[in-house]
Each structure stands twice: as C-alpha cells, then as structure tokens.
Symmetry: C2
Subunit: 332 residues, 2 copies
C-alpha cells in the first residue's frame, strides 16, 4: 500500500514531540554507524535554480527514502519526501514536504536544545516570524518548559501576530519587541529562523548579544547567499554543534563567513551525532554559550516522513493508491 | 497536475519509436552539454540489497527528474521514475518503471543500432527470452527493417514461446535454435539480453562467434555479478560504444572482466554521445564488428518517463492526483 499525502494531510500528521523523538533516533543511528547517507546532490536547473536530492537509509529503524526539493526565483520551492520500508522494500508514502521540512528543522532544533540548553530555560527569544520561526519554537517547547517568549522581526504586524498566535498555541506569555537586541536580552534559549541575506547590515543576530549560559539555534542560512548570524556568534560560543559538518561548511553563508574570520575553530565544532551518541557533551557548564547551526539532513527528512506515514496509517488520513510499484523478481 | 501511472498504464503508454526518438534527443543533448547528470548513487540496504538514485536534468527538452530503483534477493526489484517540468517546476508524473526500464534499455539499443549497424540488416539474433530480450528486439525493429529473427535461451519452451510471440508482434519469420552459436550464425545484428552470472561457463555470448559486419548489443551485465559476454566479444570488436564509460567500468561485470584481459582498449571505446553528437562514426565500414554495451543512464529514464507522461496527457490515461506539491514562495 502506497499513501499519498498532500500539504494539508502532512500538517495534520506531524506532531512535534514525535518528530523530535524520530530525529533523535535517526541521529543516534548515525552515531552508531547504522545509517547510509551520501553527501546530497546539488544540481542546477537551466534557469539557475537548484534541484537537490537527499537520500538516507536508516537501518535499525527499518526505513529509507529521500527528499527531493527544487526551486527557482521565478516560481518558488517544492519539496517531496518518499519513504520505503527496509523490511520488504515497499513504497510506503510520497508526501508534500513543504511544512514537514520546516517541522523537521524544528525537531532537529528540539533535539539540539534537549542536549545543549540548560535544564531550566523559561525564556525563549525568537528572531523571525515565519513558518520556521514557529516550528523551531515548537521544537524547543517539545523538550523544555517555556514560560515566556519574546519575538522580533522587522515587520511590526508580523511580529505581533506571531506573538499572539504562539501565546495561544503554547499557553505562555509572548511579547513582540522593537529590536532584536531587546528580544534576546536575558533569554535562556534563542531561535534565529530568518531568510535574511545579510545585505545592508541586516544580519539578524550578533554575537555580541550572546550572554553566559545562553543556547542559540540558527537554522536560516542554508544557502551561501543567506546570512543571519555574524561570525562573532560563532566566535563567542564555547561550543558549536552542527547537523552535518560537510554540509554547513559548503552550504551555509554564515559558516563560510565565520570560517573566513577564523571563528569556526575545529576544536570547538562538533556534529550532532557526537553529542547524541555521547562522545561529546552538549555543554560544559551553566555559563557556557552554546550554538546549534543546522542546514538539514536527509536523516531528518526520512525519519520525519516515516512519522507522518505512521500517523497516516493510524488515522486513516491520506490517499491510498494501492501498490504503485510492481515487483520484478530476480531471474524474470 | 500530477499523474500517477501504474505498471499497466506505463506499458500501454510506451510506444517504442517515440522512446527511441526521446532517448536519441537526450543523448544528443548530452553531447551538446545541456544535460546535468551526476554519477548515480549506489547505496546499500541493511540486508545487502541496493538502493540506486539516478537524477538527470535535460535542459533543452525542458524536463528533469530521476529514477530510484532498489532491490534485494529476498524480495526482488522495484523501479520508480519521477518527472518534473523545467518550465515551471511542476511535478508532472510518478510512475512504476519496471516495464519502462526494460523499454528504455531497448530504446537505447535502438539508437545505438541506428548509428552503428549496417543499413541492411534482415537477420537479427536474440540471446535471451525475457522482457529485456523483447524490448531490445523492439528497439532494433524501430530503426531497421527486420525480416527474420533467431532466438536462443536455455529453456526450450521459453525460446519457442518467444519466437512465436515476436513473429506475430513484428510480422516476421522467427525460429528458436538449440544453441547460441546456431542462433547468431550469419546474423546482421545480435541482441544479448540475459541475466546470466557467467558461472559454470554459462557466458551467453562468445566473441569467437562474431562475424565481419555484425553489430552486437549487450545489455544484461549491469552488475558486477552478472556476466553474459566474454572478453573476446570486446577484443574482437573494431569499436565499442557504451552509454556511460564511468558506469560500465564500475558496474558491468563483463566490462570489468574485459579490462582485466586488456580487451577494453581506450582507443576503441567511445561513448554513445560521441556517436550521436557526430564526433565519432558508428562504424568504420561494412566489415567492422561493432559492439554496444549499456548499463542504463538517468537520461534514458527521464526522457522515457517524459514520453510516457506526454502519452498519458494525450490519452487521458493514469490517475490525476491534482497538485501534490505545494509551492513555497521565496521570502515566505
């Protein structure tokens, strides 16, 4: 049985606590060496747009598949996640992954926050007011008790709307601030989730604002042209954890800029799998500033897709299209 | 609009002459440098099975996509082709590609035969009696006038049934033979399309049988464990054309064996794109023995998938599932 899931289906079938648990399981498998994940393919369309192919096989979880996402300035971006069983090879699900990409990014932030933030983190600051700002806040909320949030984004209406929505959704205090600096002052955890390009001094977060004990998650700079945190944010952090060292060094404009200024020192940079696997601790002490920087991995996508598939089976949601793929026997 | 096509749909929507023309167009674009096709990914499942990911972007044809196929001894192989438009990024079709993989292999053989075989080739010999034997014969029939075929495969019932079926389908004489040697004697074009492993001296075709002027297409050895033509088949050919040099050298057991015996000499090996693009001729003269060896490329898959998609639109066949993928605007 193959299930098709559109944008509405997926948003209904992606509970954040389950996504966080699934991403954590996937990264733990990565640490244990039971994952096959080649560097993702970055191909270029004729109009200059990108076409990215990201497969992962996650052995113990019994799942495999890939995300393909592609986009161009002229038309936007589309995301597809396809999941297969490693039990019997069946094509399980094909789903729109626009929301899920934002949600699994939030789930990865949740996993990082669980291992890296201090235990008691009542105040979360959010820079950004879009879909990723929301899903990354939900990721933090899945692993820590939050009492209040502050939010900043350049547009006053959008930041006010975000505060209002999240106050209701999480049943917490929420306040929009007029500056990013006011937003992050005194925060225990910071989420930076923007799509700024860093032009005209519009970097969204500056390292000089980091305070002792703070944990920062930054997820917006997933392409070289996107810039949201400055090199000092890396330089002022006691440890930096990334989801994929190879990818962040090649794909994140923020990381490339930090490397240029020698603020991405190898002895303070670790991969998420090292932390989840237990070979590196998430923070040294309650005063260390910690930074999680992610660009997204296929493990996150495939594990998140599998949660959505399981929820679809459990709830009967989605379109069952039978066995789409026929089976060729060896020797036939 | 996204169209889903199952095994039955695809077989009805894959006319060989259109597939041959599409593969030829794709390879011509490859020669012209308007194709993006990275080496395909060969990943390994936990049970030792394979998971292969093959994308291609074909710019002038306005199409892009990929095939993913995966299999294990325990359960068999499944194939999926996904096509997108390069005009607007839309997900056009997702289809079962079990039959289409065999058909596009036949189409590639058709293209090779068109450029490499002598003009007058009334007698085609076929070694093998499975799906690929049929589609590769159809590929040859799409580009040359055939009067008679001979067929050999080890099982007498299967070779007799194949002869009967193809005689009716192509309206030609067809005869099953008791040995492969008798099958190929005097043939103008030979198709070798088996799944032999070459163990117990069961190589399906031997180079000592090659005759002046013969053109041989061999498509069965697509993995290292599969062996169907011996090193002399390469050694006795005046020129050898392959669909992808990188892939045949890494994936075909036949080519690896020929390289070991120094019978795959660089000065006589060319890629299909060189021949279609016009930088190399398909044969020197009417007495040269020519060999086409293919393992399949993503260009063949994506171009074939696009033909099937176009036929589906034209005939209204397949399942329209609306716009499966939502569109994320930049800046949202």
């Amino acid at each position: 049985m193959t299930i098709l899931l559109d944008a509405n289906d997926v948003e209904q079938l992606a509970p954040m606590p389950r996504l966080v648990a699934a991403v954590e399981r996937g990264v733990l498998e990565e640490a244990q060496g039971t994952v096959v994940m080649p560097p993702r393919m970055n191909l270029t369309m004729r109009n200059g747009g990108f076409f990215r192919v990201m497969p992962a096989l996650i052995h113990k979880s019994g799942v495999m598949g890939y995300k393909v996402f592609h986009g161009a300035i002229e038309w936007g971006v589309r995301y597809l996640i396809v999941n297969y069983s490693q039990e019997n090879g069946e094509l399980l699900a094909m789903m729109d992954a626009h929301y899920l990409t934002a949600a699994r990014t939030g789930a990865a932030t949740g996993v990082a926050t669980k291992y890296m933030a201090r235990t008691d983190t009542p105040h979360v600051a959010v820079i950004g007011s879009g879909l990723e700002a929301r899903t990354n806040l939900l990721g933090v909320a899945a692993v820590r008790k939050i009492k209040r949030i502050t939010v900043y984004s350049p547009n006053p209406e959008r930041r006010a709307a975000f505060a209002k929505r999240m106050a209701a959704e999480l049943d917490i205090e929420a306040k929009a601030t007029d500056t990013p600096e006011a937003c992050v002052r005194g925060a225990d955890v910071v989420v930076v989730a923007t799509n700024t390009t860093g032009r005209a001094a519009s970097i969204a977060y500056q390292g000089k604002w980091s305070e002792p004990g703070m944990h920062i998650n930054a997820i917006g700079s997933t392409m070289l042209r996107l810039r949201e945190i400055d090199p000092d944010t890396f330089g002022n952090s006691g440890r930096i954890v990334v989801d994929s060292r190879h990818q962040v060094e090649n794909e994140s404009g923020d990381v490339v800029a930090a490397i240029k200024e020698n603020k991405f020192p190898p002895d303070r940079v670790f991969e998420m799998k090292d932390v989840i696997g237990g070979s590196v601790s998430g923070r040294a002490d309650d005063r260390e500033i910690t930074l999680f920087k992610s660009v997204g991995t296929a493990i996150q996508d495939v594990m998140a897709g599998f949660v959505v598939y399981e929820e679809a089976v459990r709830t009967g949601r989605g379109r069952d299209v039978g066995e789409l793929l026929s089976l060729k026997q060896f020797g036939s």
